[in-house]
């Protein structure tokens, strides 16, 4: 079999971490020279990362967070203590140089200190530049999302559906869906009761034939508010009705839990 074909077939296995050491070494050598396999490998690695992300989230004990922060602080105190020790060592050694070498020692110290200050300043400035660049990138993303939401809300063709619950005491849960056949869907919910651990709300789009499709799983914030944005590329149908149910974390393939609110066009 052509060696490239064999390597290409094993790229996915490499990305999953499933090849033995010998096969790994051979394939890694091939990746260095083959752009096509390298691109496939990067894609497979991203897909493999999705496997890790598929694990159901779980809540650790509160003590872990506290221990982590204490560990950080202990590390910083040790680093500060260690940073002082070399300086004490340097001044002790300077005593042995004698007066005839003192001038050279002073000049060397000044040069080293000056260079260190410049490097530190350079590092600080670089850090600031990177931080600002990262902030700008983040703000741009937020701006893009905000524009998408405003675009959907402002369109005269956007359909507005009010989802209501008839059974809960006031203030009862309610939601509003803003749907545009070419822009996507935005759901905004309010007065959503808090959920038991392990449970989430799930938004459903219901087709004209009555088939529900999941539009997202969400949990409300402390005030009972929630939002789901679904771009058009992810919508598989033109919905005629919407509903919210309570499901286990991670959602369900079809509605199984109690219905919290419903609305139709």
């Amino acid at each position: 079999m052509n060696a490239h074909i064999q390597f290409a077939e094993d790229v996915d296995l490499l990305a999953l971490g499933l090849l033995g050491e010998e096969d790994c070494a051979a394939l890694r050598g091939h990746l260095e020279t083959c752009a096509e396999c390298r691109a496939r490998f990067h894609e497979a690695r991203a897909l493999a990362a999705l496997l890790a992300l598929s694990s159901p989230p779980a809540e650790p004990s509160a003590g872990v967070r506290k221990q982590l922060l204490e560990r950080l602080r202990a590390g910083r105190e040790n680093a500060t203590r260690d940073a002082r020790a070399p300086k004490q060592e340097e001044s002790r050694r300077a005593g042995f140089w004698g007066w005839t070498n003192l001038g050279w020692a002073v000049a060397a110290v000044i040069l080293v200190a000056g260079a260190a200050l410049m490097m530190e300043e350079n590092r600080r400035v670089q850090g600031q530049v990177q931080s600002l660049q990262a902030e700008i990138a983040g703000k741009q993303q937020e701006l893009d999302r905000t524009r998408a939401v405003l675009d959907l809300l402002r369109s005269t063709d956007t359909v507005h559906v009010h989802l209501i619950s008839g059974s809960e005491p006031w203030p009862w849960p309610e939601g509003r869906v803003y749907y545009h056949p070419k822009k996507g869907l935005l759901f905004v919910g309010s007065h959503l009761p808090p959920l038991d651990p392990g449970m989430s709300y799930q938004l459903w789009c219901v087709s004209e034939g009555g088939t529900p499709a999941s539009a997202g799983v969400f949990r409300p914030d402390a005030k009972g508010n929630a939002a789901v944005m679904m771009p058009l590329a992810k919508m598989a149908m033109s919905p005629k009705a919407f509903a919210v149910t309570v499901e286990a974390d991670g959602g369900a393939q079809a509605p199984t839990g109690p219905q919290v609110m419903v609305g139709e066009q």
């Binding site: 990362a49 999302r145 997202g216």
Partner: protein, 184 residues
């Protein structure tokens, strides 16, 4: 919406503990979930959880948000670390470095969208034929090579490889249009 991941990472570089705490609050349950799935032991999984975020504190300066997705790095590194512990071997830093270059075409910072995407990922796994899904779970979450899988299941090596490739192909079919932008 909270502070973007890359801003928090930059603050960690500046030794801001509150930034690490914020990322822990955002992704701790995800990392813990990965570790728990591999190790099936609360105490061991909590140690891995703490180690991963302590590691982030130490290597944040090397993490480039333009090249890699932080939740992907956290989840994949947690999986590697948990498997190393399961198999009682020393943690390998080269796999951690490689994980920093995994770019996802969507970001998971916003909680509602995160829930939606993670639900899609789980749904894609649930749609796989059971023989494929079980194999993927054994391989990915127990760290077995395809040779070890063949020994464990009694299936021929060629069958094992074929099913695993098919599993990745089905993920590629589900997310391939999105994953194209993950190529470097």
């Amino acid at each position: 919406m909270g502070t973007p991941d890359h801003s928090l990472v930059m603050r960690i570089v500046g030794r801001d503990e509150s930034a690490l705490a914020e990322l822990y609050d955002r992704y701790g349950s995800l990392v813990y979930g990965v570790a728990l799935r591999v190790l099936r032991d609360v105490s061991a999984a909590e140690e891995v959880l703490q180690d991963i975020f302590h590691r982030l504190w130490n290597v944040a300066g090397r993490f480039d948000p333009a090249r890699g997705s932080l939740p992907a790095w956290l989840a994949v590194t947690a999986r590697h670390r948990a498997i190393d512990r399961l198999r009682q071997r020393e943690p390998a830093t080269d796999s951690e470095t490689a994980a920093a270059e995994i770019s996802l075409p969507f970001d998971l910072e916003e909680q509602v969208f995160r829930g939606h995407m993670l639900e899609r990922i789980r749904a894609a796994l649930a749609r796989m034929p059971e023989s494929q899904r079980k194999l993927v779970e054994l391989a990915y979450f127990e760290g077995l090579t395809h040779t070890e899988l063949a020994e464990r299941t009694g299936e021929p090596l060629g069958t094992i490889k074929g099913r695993l490739r098919a599993a990745v192909a089905s993920l590629r079919k589900e997310f391939g249009g999105l994953a194209d932008s993950a190529r470097k």
